[in-house]
Protein backbone atom coordinates (compact mmCIF):
# COMPACT_ATOMS: atom_id res chain seq x y z
CA UNK A 1 0.00 0.00 0.00
CA UNK A 2 1.39 3.40 -0.92
CA UNK A 3 0.80 6.63 0.92
CA UNK A 4 -1.93 7.86 -1.41
CA UNK A 5 -3.87 4.63 -0.95
CA UNK A 6 -3.44 4.81 2.82
CA UNK A 7 -4.74 8.38 2.91
CA UNK A 8 -7.67 7.46 0.69
CA UNK A 9 -8.73 4.67 3.04
CA UNK A 10 -8.14 6.67 6.22
CA UNK A 11 -10.60 9.30 5.00
CA UNK A 12 -13.28 6.90 6.21
CA UNK A 13 -11.79 6.36 9.67
CA UNK A 14 -14.12 7.89 12.24
CA UNK A 15 -12.35 10.28 14.61
CA UNK A 16 -13.74 8.61 17.75
CA UNK A 17 -11.75 5.45 16.97
CA UNK A 18 -14.81 3.25 16.54
CA UNK A 19 -13.23 1.72 13.44
CA UNK A 20 -10.01 0.68 15.17
CA UNK A 21 -10.91 -3.00 14.93
CA UNK A 22 -12.06 -2.85 11.31
CA UNK A 23 -9.67 -4.88 9.19
CA UNK A 24 -10.13 -2.53 6.24
CA UNK A 25 -8.10 0.10 8.08
CA UNK A 26 -5.37 -2.16 9.47
CA UNK A 27 -2.82 -1.74 6.69
CA UNK A 28 -3.51 1.98 6.32
CA UNK A 29 -3.13 2.55 10.07
CA UNK A 30 0.12 0.64 9.96
CA UNK A 31 1.27 2.88 7.14
CA UNK A 32 0.41 5.92 9.27
CA UNK A 33 2.50 4.51 12.10
CA UNK A 34 5.53 3.89 9.93
CA UNK A 35 5.53 6.90 7.63
CA UNK A 36 5.98 10.28 9.38
CA UNK A 37 4.36 12.12 6.48
CA UNK A 38 1.23 9.98 6.58
CA UNK A 39 1.25 10.12 10.37
CA UNK A 40 1.27 13.92 10.36
CA UNK A 41 -1.44 14.07 7.71
CA UNK A 42 -3.57 11.55 9.64
CA UNK A 43 -3.19 13.46 12.91
CA UNK A 44 -4.32 16.68 11.23
CA UNK A 45 -7.15 14.85 9.49
CA UNK A 46 -8.43 13.31 12.71
CA UNK A 47 -8.22 16.60 14.59
CA UNK A 48 -10.17 18.32 11.84
CA UNK A 49 -12.75 15.52 11.66
CA UNK A 50 -13.13 15.51 15.45
CA UNK A 51 -13.67 19.27 15.46
CA UNK A 52 -16.42 19.00 12.82
CA UNK A 53 -18.05 16.07 14.63
CA UNK A 54 -18.05 18.03 17.87
CA UNK A 55 -19.71 20.98 16.17
CA UNK A 56 -22.36 18.77 14.60
CA UNK A 57 -23.05 17.22 18.00
CA UNK A 58 -23.89 20.66 19.35
CA UNK A 59 -26.91 20.96 17.07
CA UNK A 60 -30.01 20.24 19.12
CA UNK A 61 -33.45 19.44 17.72
CA UNK A 62 -36.33 21.81 18.44
CA UNK A 63 -37.45 21.48 22.04
CA UNK A 64 -40.83 20.08 21.14
CA UNK A 65 -39.75 17.57 18.50
CA UNK A 66 -39.57 14.58 20.84
CA UNK A 67 -43.02 15.20 22.23
CA UNK A 68 -44.32 15.79 18.73
CA UNK A 69 -42.93 12.49 17.50
CA UNK A 70 -44.35 10.62 20.44
CA UNK A 71 -47.70 12.22 20.26
CA UNK A 72 -47.87 12.37 16.51
CA UNK A 73 -48.40 16.10 16.55
CA UNK A 74 -46.90 18.66 14.31
CA UNK A 75 -43.58 20.33 14.96
CA UNK A 76 -44.69 23.90 14.82
CA UNK A 77 -47.77 26.00 14.42
CA UNK A 78 -46.83 26.95 10.92
CA UNK A 79 -49.68 26.08 8.62
CA UNK A 80 -47.53 24.47 5.98
CA UNK A 81 -49.43 21.87 4.04
CA UNK A 82 -47.92 18.43 4.22
CA UNK A 83 -50.20 16.04 2.52
CA UNK A 84 -49.03 13.07 4.50
CA UNK A 85 -50.03 14.65 7.79
CA UNK A 86 -53.56 14.85 6.63
CA UNK A 87 -53.86 11.22 5.72
CA UNK A 88 -56.33 9.31 7.89
CA UNK A 89 -53.78 6.50 8.23
CA UNK A 90 -51.31 8.85 9.88
CA UNK A 91 -53.90 10.27 12.24
CA UNK A 92 -54.95 6.75 13.17
CA UNK A 93 -51.37 5.66 13.71
CA UNK A 94 -50.67 8.76 15.82
CA UNK A 95 -53.72 8.05 17.91
CA UNK A 96 -52.62 4.44 18.23
CA UNK A 97 -49.19 5.47 19.45
CA UNK A 98 -50.74 7.87 21.95
CA UNK A 99 -52.97 5.07 23.27
CA UNK A 100 -50.00 2.71 23.48
CA UNK A 101 -48.05 5.32 25.40
CA UNK A 102 -50.88 5.90 27.82
CA UNK A 103 -51.43 2.20 28.34
CA UNK A 104 -47.72 1.61 28.71
CA UNK A 105 -47.48 3.88 31.74
CA UNK A 106 -50.21 1.89 33.48
CA UNK A 107 -48.91 -1.53 32.48
CA UNK A 108 -45.24 -1.07 33.35
CA UNK A 109 -44.32 -3.55 36.04
CA UNK A 110 -43.40 -1.93 39.33
CA UNK A 111 -40.36 -4.10 39.92
CA UNK A 112 -36.64 -3.63 39.49
CA UNK A 113 -36.91 -6.02 36.55
CA UNK A 114 -38.37 -3.22 34.48
CA UNK A 115 -35.10 -1.30 34.79
CA UNK A 116 -33.22 -4.34 33.53
CA UNK A 117 -35.60 -4.76 30.60
CA UNK A 118 -35.14 -1.08 29.82
CA UNK A 119 -31.36 -1.52 29.85
CA UNK A 120 -31.58 -4.59 27.60
CA UNK A 121 -33.82 -2.79 25.12
CA UNK A 122 -31.49 0.22 25.06
CA UNK A 123 -28.40 -1.94 24.55
CA UNK A 124 -30.11 -3.77 21.70
CA UNK A 125 -30.67 -0.58 19.77
CA UNK A 126 -27.07 0.34 19.24
CA UNK A 127 -23.69 -1.34 19.04
CA UNK A 128 -21.87 1.55 20.69
CA UNK A 129 -23.42 4.58 22.27
CA UNK A 130 -21.83 7.97 22.51
CA UNK A 131 -20.62 9.67 25.66
CA UNK A 132 -17.87 12.07 26.45
CA UNK A 133 -16.26 14.12 29.17
CA UNK A 134 -13.43 13.57 31.58
CA UNK A 135 -15.52 11.77 34.23
CA UNK A 136 -17.00 9.53 31.54
CA UNK A 137 -13.59 8.66 30.13
CA UNK A 138 -12.08 7.96 33.55
CA UNK A 139 -14.84 5.53 34.50
CA UNK A 140 -14.66 3.95 31.06
CA UNK A 141 -10.93 3.35 31.47
CA UNK A 142 -11.56 1.63 34.80
CA UNK A 143 -14.23 -0.58 33.26
CA UNK A 144 -11.97 -1.33 30.29
CA UNK A 145 -9.24 -2.51 32.62
CA UNK A 146 -8.86 -6.30 32.87
CA UNK A 147 -8.25 -5.82 36.60
CA UNK A 148 -11.73 -4.47 37.22
CA UNK A 149 -14.26 -7.03 38.37
CA UNK A 150 -18.01 -6.57 38.23
CA UNK A 151 -19.35 -5.94 41.71
CA UNK A 152 -16.32 -4.09 42.98
CA UNK A 153 -16.69 -0.54 44.21
CA UNK A 154 -16.60 1.90 41.29
CA UNK A 155 -15.88 5.64 41.57
CA UNK A 156 -19.29 6.76 40.36
CA UNK A 157 -20.00 10.43 40.83
CA UNK A 158 -23.47 10.50 39.35
CA UNK A 159 -23.89 14.28 39.21
CA UNK A 160 -20.46 14.90 37.71
CA UNK A 161 -20.90 12.17 35.12
CA UNK A 162 -24.27 13.56 34.15
CA UNK A 163 -23.06 17.15 33.92
CA UNK A 164 -19.85 16.48 32.02
CA UNK A 165 -21.24 14.53 29.11
CA UNK A 166 -21.87 10.93 30.11
CA UNK A 167 -24.83 9.65 28.11
CA UNK A 168 -27.99 10.12 30.16
CA UNK A 169 -31.29 8.49 29.37
CA UNK A 170 -34.58 8.78 31.15
CA UNK A 171 -36.50 5.89 32.65
CA UNK A 172 -39.75 6.61 34.45
CA UNK A 173 -38.60 10.15 34.92
CA UNK A 174 -35.30 9.12 36.51
CA UNK A 175 -31.89 9.76 35.01
CA UNK A 176 -29.95 6.66 34.04
CA UNK A 177 -26.31 6.96 33.06
CA UNK A 178 -25.07 4.66 30.31
CA UNK A 179 -21.49 3.99 29.43
CA UNK A 180 -20.03 1.52 26.95
CA UNK A 181 -16.81 -0.27 27.69
CA UNK A 182 -14.73 -2.86 25.91
CA UNK A 183 -13.08 -5.95 27.28
CA UNK A 184 -11.38 -8.69 25.28
CA UNK A 185 -12.57 -7.08 22.05
CA UNK A 186 -16.22 -7.17 23.14
CA UNK A 187 -18.42 -4.17 23.94
CA UNK A 188 -20.54 -4.06 27.08
CA UNK A 189 -23.15 -1.54 28.19
CA UNK A 190 -23.17 -0.38 31.81
CA UNK A 191 -26.21 1.38 33.28
CA UNK A 192 -26.13 3.30 36.54
CA UNK A 193 -29.20 4.44 38.44
CA UNK A 194 -29.48 6.23 41.76
CA UNK A 195 -30.61 3.81 44.43
CA UNK A 196 -32.88 6.48 45.88
CA UNK A 197 -34.81 6.42 42.60
CA UNK A 198 -35.44 2.68 43.01
CA UNK A 199 -36.02 2.22 46.74
CA UNK A 200 -37.63 -1.20 46.27
CA UNK A 201 -34.51 -2.76 44.81
CA UNK A 202 -32.97 -5.04 47.41
CA UNK A 203 -29.34 -4.55 48.41
CA UNK A 204 -27.24 -7.04 46.52
CA UNK A 205 -23.52 -6.35 46.25
CA UNK A 206 -22.79 -9.59 44.39
CA UNK A 207 -23.62 -9.48 40.67
CA UNK A 208 -26.52 -11.70 39.67
CA UNK A 209 -26.49 -13.03 36.12
CA UNK A 210 -29.59 -13.49 34.03
CA UNK A 211 -30.20 -14.43 30.40
CA UNK A 212 -32.55 -12.95 27.83
CA UNK A 213 -31.96 -15.19 24.85
CA UNK A 214 -28.49 -14.38 23.55
CA UNK A 215 -28.24 -11.40 25.88
CA UNK A 216 -26.79 -11.69 29.37
CA UNK A 217 -27.30 -9.24 32.20
CA UNK A 218 -25.42 -8.73 35.43
CA UNK A 219 -27.03 -6.59 38.12
CA UNK A 220 -25.97 -5.50 41.56
CA UNK A 221 -26.08 -2.54 43.91
CA UNK A 222 -23.59 -0.52 45.86
CA UNK A 223 -24.37 1.94 48.63
CA UNK A 224 -25.82 4.53 46.27
CA UNK A 225 -26.44 2.91 42.93
CA UNK A 226 -28.23 0.18 41.05
CA UNK A 227 -25.91 -1.12 38.34
CA UNK A 228 -26.77 -3.22 35.31
CA UNK A 229 -24.25 -4.46 32.75
CA UNK A 230 -25.57 -5.88 29.49
CA UNK A 231 -23.67 -8.19 27.15
CA UNK A 232 -25.07 -8.84 23.71
CA UNK A 233 -22.58 -11.62 23.17
CA UNK A 234 -23.79 -14.03 25.78
CA UNK A 235 -23.18 -15.17 29.33
CA UNK A 236 -19.64 -16.44 28.95
CA UNK A 237 -18.25 -13.04 28.05
CA UNK A 238 -20.03 -11.52 31.01
CA UNK A 239 -18.89 -14.25 33.39
CA UNK A 240 -15.31 -13.44 32.38
CA UNK A 241 -15.74 -10.03 34.02
CA UNK A 242 -16.71 -11.43 37.42
Amino acid sequence: MNNAEAKFILQGYRPNGTDADDATFTAALEQAKNDPGVAEWFARQRAFDAAISAKLAQIEPPADLRAAILAGGRVSGEARQRSWWNRPAWMAAAAGIAVMLGAGVVLWPKTAGAFMEFAVADAKMSAIHGGHGHENNTLQEILNSPDTKLGQKLPINFANLHETGCRTISFRGHDILELCFKRNGVWFHAYFARKTDFPNVAKNTTPVLQDRGSIAIASWTDEEHVIVVVSKTGRRNLEALL
Binding site: L56, I59, P61, I69, S76, I97, M100, W108, M125
Partner: protein
Amino acid sequence: MSSEIFTQLVDAHYTPLFRFALSLTKNPSDAGDLTQQTFFIWAKQGHALREEGKAKAWLFTTLYREFLRIRRRGERVSALEDLGPIESDPPAPEVDVVTGMDASLVVEALQEVDEVYRVPLTLFYMQDLSYKEIAEMIEAPIGTVMSRLSRGKAQLRAALARKEAGARGKVVAFQPNTARKQS
Protein backbone atom coordinates in the same frame (compact mmCIF):
# COMPACT_ATOMS: atom_id res chain seq x y z
CA MET B 1 -44.16 -2.94 19.46
CA SER B 2 -44.47 -1.78 23.05
CA SER B 3 -44.73 1.89 23.89
CA GLU B 4 -41.67 1.62 26.09
CA ILE B 5 -39.54 0.33 23.23
CA PHE B 6 -40.90 2.97 20.91
CA THR B 7 -40.07 5.71 23.41
CA GLN B 8 -36.57 4.33 23.83
CA LEU B 9 -36.16 4.16 20.09
CA VAL B 10 -37.19 7.79 19.76
CA ASP B 11 -34.92 8.89 22.61
CA ALA B 12 -31.96 7.01 21.19
CA HIS B 13 -32.21 8.25 17.64
CA TYR B 14 -34.31 11.35 17.12
CA THR B 15 -31.45 13.78 17.75
CA PRO B 16 -28.96 12.28 15.25
CA LEU B 17 -31.79 11.77 12.78
CA PHE B 18 -32.72 15.44 13.09
CA ARG B 19 -29.10 16.47 12.51
CA PHE B 20 -28.93 14.31 9.41
CA ALA B 21 -32.27 15.66 8.21
CA LEU B 22 -31.05 19.22 8.78
CA SER B 23 -28.05 18.62 6.57
CA LEU B 24 -30.35 17.32 3.84
CA THR B 25 -33.20 19.81 4.01
CA LYS B 26 -31.17 22.86 5.14
CA ASN B 27 -34.23 23.93 7.09
CA PRO B 28 -34.99 23.09 10.76
CA SER B 29 -38.73 22.92 10.24
CA ASP B 30 -38.49 20.54 7.29
CA ALA B 31 -35.88 18.55 9.18
CA GLY B 32 -38.32 18.15 12.07
CA ASP B 33 -41.05 17.03 9.71
CA LEU B 34 -38.75 14.55 8.02
CA THR B 35 -37.68 13.13 11.38
CA GLN B 36 -41.28 12.71 12.45
CA GLN B 37 -42.20 11.10 9.17
CA THR B 38 -39.40 8.59 9.66
CA PHE B 39 -40.77 7.53 13.02
CA PHE B 40 -44.24 7.42 11.55
CA ILE B 41 -43.01 4.92 8.98
CA TRP B 42 -41.38 2.97 11.79
CA ALA B 43 -44.67 2.94 13.67
CA LYS B 44 -46.29 1.45 10.58
CA GLN B 45 -43.57 -0.94 9.48
CA GLY B 46 -40.71 -1.06 11.95
CA HIS B 47 -42.18 -3.81 14.09
CA ALA B 48 -41.45 -6.12 11.17
CA LEU B 49 -37.72 -5.56 11.67
CA ARG B 50 -36.54 -8.67 13.42
CA GLU B 51 -33.11 -7.50 14.48
CA GLU B 52 -33.51 -4.55 16.80
CA GLY B 53 -29.80 -3.81 16.50
CA LYS B 54 -30.41 -2.76 12.93
CA ALA B 55 -32.99 -0.18 13.92
CA LYS B 56 -30.51 2.69 13.67
CA ALA B 57 -29.43 1.87 10.13
CA TRP B 58 -33.06 1.27 9.19
CA LEU B 59 -34.11 4.68 10.49
CA PHE B 60 -31.29 6.55 8.75
CA THR B 61 -31.97 4.72 5.49
CA THR B 62 -35.68 5.37 5.74
CA LEU B 63 -35.14 9.06 6.45
CA TYR B 64 -32.82 9.39 3.47
CA ARG B 65 -35.21 7.57 1.12
CA GLU B 66 -38.11 9.62 2.37
CA PHE B 67 -36.11 12.77 1.69
CA LEU B 68 -35.42 11.62 -1.86
CA ARG B 69 -39.08 10.75 -2.34
CA ILE B 70 -40.42 14.05 -1.08
CA ARG B 71 -37.93 16.21 -2.91
CA ARG B 72 -39.19 17.74 -6.03
CA ARG B 73 -38.65 15.48 -8.98
CA GLY B 74 -36.29 16.58 -11.65
CA GLU B 75 -33.83 18.25 -9.33
CA ARG B 76 -30.43 17.36 -10.56
CA VAL B 77 -27.88 15.92 -8.22
CA SER B 78 -24.27 16.60 -9.19
CA ALA B 79 -22.53 13.57 -10.50
CA LEU B 80 -19.00 12.67 -9.58
CA GLU B 81 -17.92 13.03 -13.16
CA ASP B 82 -19.06 16.66 -13.26
CA LEU B 83 -16.40 17.75 -10.88
CA GLY B 84 -12.70 18.01 -11.22
CA PRO B 85 -10.09 15.96 -9.45
CA ILE B 86 -9.75 16.15 -5.70
CA GLU B 87 -7.60 19.00 -4.53
CA SER B 88 -4.64 17.48 -2.84
CA ASP B 89 -4.54 19.93 0.04
CA PRO B 90 -7.28 22.53 -0.29
CA PRO B 91 -6.96 25.61 1.89
CA ALA B 92 -8.62 25.01 5.21
CA PRO B 93 -9.02 26.84 8.47
CA GLU B 94 -6.89 25.55 11.29
CA VAL B 95 -8.56 23.15 13.67
CA ASP B 96 -8.64 25.71 16.48
CA VAL B 97 -10.40 28.12 14.12
CA VAL B 98 -13.05 25.49 13.43
CA THR B 99 -13.32 24.85 17.15
CA GLY B 100 -13.93 28.54 17.70
CA MET B 101 -16.60 28.76 15.01
CA ASP B 102 -20.26 28.72 15.86
CA ALA B 103 -21.81 25.29 15.32
CA SER B 104 -24.51 26.74 13.10
CA LEU B 105 -21.83 28.25 10.85
CA VAL B 106 -20.15 24.86 10.52
CA VAL B 107 -23.49 23.29 9.64
CA GLU B 108 -24.05 26.01 7.04
CA ALA B 109 -20.69 25.15 5.51
CA LEU B 110 -21.64 21.48 5.51
CA GLN B 111 -24.88 22.34 3.76
CA GLU B 112 -22.89 24.00 0.97
CA VAL B 113 -21.26 20.68 0.09
CA ASP B 114 -22.85 19.03 -2.95
CA GLU B 115 -25.56 16.65 -1.86
CA VAL B 116 -23.92 13.61 -3.40
CA TYR B 117 -20.99 14.14 -1.02
CA ARG B 118 -22.92 15.73 1.84
CA VAL B 119 -24.98 12.64 2.60
CA PRO B 120 -22.07 10.28 3.35
CA LEU B 121 -20.04 13.11 4.85
CA THR B 122 -22.73 14.06 7.37
CA LEU B 123 -23.22 10.44 8.34
CA PHE B 124 -19.47 10.06 8.73
CA TYR B 125 -19.21 13.09 11.01
CA MET B 126 -22.14 11.93 13.11
CA GLN B 127 -20.09 8.78 13.70
CA ASP B 128 -23.17 6.62 14.12
CA LEU B 129 -22.66 4.52 11.01
CA SER B 130 -19.56 2.87 9.62
CA TYR B 131 -18.51 3.46 6.02
CA LYS B 132 -19.90 -0.02 5.23
CA GLU B 133 -23.29 0.91 6.67
CA ILE B 134 -23.18 4.20 4.78
CA ALA B 135 -22.41 2.30 1.57
CA GLU B 136 -25.40 0.03 2.14
CA MET B 137 -27.59 2.97 2.89
CA ILE B 138 -26.80 4.98 -0.21
CA GLU B 139 -26.46 1.80 -2.27
CA ALA B 140 -22.96 2.59 -3.46
CA PRO B 141 -19.75 0.55 -3.45
CA ILE B 142 -17.38 1.11 -0.53
CA GLY B 143 -14.75 2.70 -2.81
CA THR B 144 -17.34 5.22 -3.95
CA VAL B 145 -18.14 6.13 -0.35
CA MET B 146 -14.45 6.70 0.39
CA SER B 147 -14.13 8.81 -2.74
CA ARG B 148 -17.19 10.88 -1.83
CA LEU B 149 -15.87 11.40 1.68
CA SER B 150 -12.60 12.62 0.27
CA ARG B 151 -14.23 15.04 -2.16
CA GLY B 152 -16.81 16.09 0.41
CA LYS B 153 -14.11 16.97 2.92
CA ALA B 154 -12.34 19.03 0.28
CA GLN B 155 -15.54 20.97 -0.42
CA LEU B 156 -16.21 21.38 3.28
CA ARG B 157 -12.75 22.80 3.90
CA ALA B 158 -13.26 25.31 1.12
CA ALA B 159 -16.70 26.27 2.47
CA LEU B 160 -15.31 26.68 5.98
CA ALA B 161 -12.53 28.88 4.66
CA ARG B 162 -15.14 31.06 2.93
CA LYS B 163 -17.22 31.26 6.12
CA GLU B 164 -14.19 32.20 8.14
CA ALA B 165 -13.15 34.86 5.66
CA GLY B 166 -16.71 36.17 5.58
CA ALA B 167 -16.87 36.37 9.34
CA ARG B 168 -13.59 38.27 9.45
CA GLY B 169 -14.78 40.58 6.71
CA LYS B 170 -17.97 41.41 8.59
CA VAL B 171 -16.07 42.45 11.67
CA VAL B 172 -13.73 44.69 9.69
CA ALA B 173 -16.60 46.35 7.82
CA PHE B 174 -18.55 46.94 10.99
CA GLN B 175 -15.93 48.93 12.85
CA PRO B 176 -15.83 52.11 10.72
CA ASN B 177 -19.65 52.37 10.72
CA THR B 178 -19.72 52.07 14.46
CA ALA B 179 -17.01 54.68 14.75
CA ARG B 180 -18.94 57.08 12.52
CA LYS B 181 -22.10 56.68 14.58
CA GLN B 182 -20.22 57.34 17.74
CA SER B 183 -18.43 60.40 16.48
